[in-house]
Symmetry: C2
Subunit: 284 residues, 2 copies
DNA sequence: AATTGATGGTTCATTAATTGAACCGACGCC
DNA sequence: GGCGTCGGTTCAATTAATGAACCATCAATT
């Protein structure tokens, strides 16, 4: 999967908000700081943070101090760089104990990945992005799809995202189309009307497909899952190198994803909306 | 372990800050909202939140909206109550992938718990609290110590906390003594001078001990571990019913904790400060 | 059916907060 | 010694957070 870090010079904040920094309170700005941390950037110094975020240095500093007070970041005592803090671990543990999703999804993702020997990932809807929840990268020695769990996936440019647009709350579509759609590849849908049309189409066929619309050489298929409410909570996807995608594989992927999403939904205590269920060919 | 929810009517915010809401920015206030979630309170409605936090309802609402935008909380579509959001899971995954602590500590805690058949827990320093990282509750059918992973442990009233006061950064001691020390039991140290004295004592003997200073009937022994820097990053503790604590058990606990804390520190890429190491009787 | 008291959410003038340019001392590097 | 960069700080200007009051809605009670 393409990561934003490779997108060249642009501001993560602006990207996340679609250049719409109006209506962004202090809290959001501070919390978006945390999104700059990733596998490849686990520690960030003050000046570096300022450059990345395009905020005033004093502002960044004060935000970091507040985040540190609350344990969301901590400072490396040697380098004085900042990193994600321990409070996050505690909260994640509470969330997972009270609303287990990662542990539910884990088993199914592992199973699918083992069966097809391909990358499988599950993500949750979060604004106009998909927030990775769990993935399994089945390394069989050949080419494999790289997935960065730290990075948010744009809803308009990934199979998972478009599944969320099609089956999720209308607010997801609204949030996505209210900002400029960034182009990642030739196939990225950047026109909001075409995107809406595509979402409707996906809704009618029951699955989402994206051939190299986020990253070249990657072909993804995704299906939504539900928990409470009638709108998709997240999506589960299989991503394969384009060369390994063909009609036969595709149909197997779709059927497997349908039954898996159904199982996950059930385990999450949810139900597949009847309009969706009638499209999915379940069972067998 | 005693949980704050059982402390009767008092404001978590005030407790956390020691009634010192000066110097609390918007960000901190919003993030402290998240601390109200726990095992027993996984979902909180707006009005309930207002009552718990003692903030203006409009303020709480706006904060929740911002937290929702950033994915730190999400709303139950049916009940409209708020719960912890998915962003936390993603960030926790990044933190744990880049700075694995929970997974490092897990193994050692499990081992100790299995050996002694008692509750063992590891926590990280966070301001004037210890943030639970992992625990293992060895249920052998008899009495067992209950531990709530969601709740922050006050530094002045727990074995882990006092270990952090003794071996951690001076800022921990400062943060702790700068507010009123809440009494939990007869044995809770509520005088900051006695607390400082006790911390010095703990430093000289190399371990921290607390007999029913947080909750009745519970006797805990804790030892700090280190990673980067010369100050304790966290502590590992064994908590047993008072009836099962005696001199022999105690010495076994201490020796085991010392070697375990040493192992954890090494695995975290840290070093036990030499003054501490000279006190600990390591190896065999 | 009207009343009461919850709830979640909204409004707008007041006010207290955040903000940003400039500044500081420390460190490393020619 | 001069230069660039680092983390951190200052203070006046102003922007953004705040809180009392208000709405709409729902459920139980009278």
């Amino acid at each position: 999967m393409q990561t934003y870090e490779r997108q060249g010079k642009f501001r993560l904040l602006q990207f996340l908000t679609g250049f719409d920094d109006s209506g962004m309170g202090t809290i959001s700005k501070a919390l978006y700081l945390l999104d700059h941390f990733s596998q490849s950037t686990p520690e960030i110094g003050l000046s570096e943070f300022q450059r990345l975020s395009d905020l005033n240095k004093a502002t960044v500093y004060r935000h970091l101090v507040e985040l540190e007070k609350t344990g969301f970041v901590e400072q490396n005592p040697n380098t004085r760089k900042y990193r994600l803090g321990a409070a996050i671990l505690r909260l994640a543990s509470v969330r997972e104990r009270t609303f287990p999703m990662r542990s539910v999804v884990e088993h199914h993702v592992d199973k699918l990945s083992a069966r097809f020997k391909e990358l499988v990932h599950a993500s949750l809807v979060q604004g106009s992005f998909m927030s990775p929840l769990y993935f399994k990268d089945y390394g069989d020695g050949g080419t494999r799809v790289y997935f960065n769990e730290a990075q948010l996936l744009p809803t308009h440019a990934t199979a998972s995202g478009i599944a969320a647009l099609a089956f999720g709350s209308p607010s997801v579509l609204k949030a996505t189309t209210s900002k400029e759609l960034q182009r990642f590849t030739q196939n990225t849908i950047v026109d909001s009307d075409i995107l809406k049309q595509r979402a409707a189409e996906v809704r009618s066929i029951g699955f989402s497909e994206c051939d190299q619309c986020f990253e070249a050489e990657i072909h993804s298929i995704a299906v939504p899952f539900f928990s409470d409410g009638i709108f998709a909570k997240g999506a589960i996807a299989i991503a394969v190198p384009t060369t390994r995608m063909n009609d036969d594989a595709k149909h197997q992927f779709i059927r497997a994803l349908w039954t898996t999403a159904n199982d996950i939904t059930t385990e999450l205590g949810g139900q597949i909306p009847s309009e969706v269920k009638s499209v999915w060919k379940l069972g067998k």
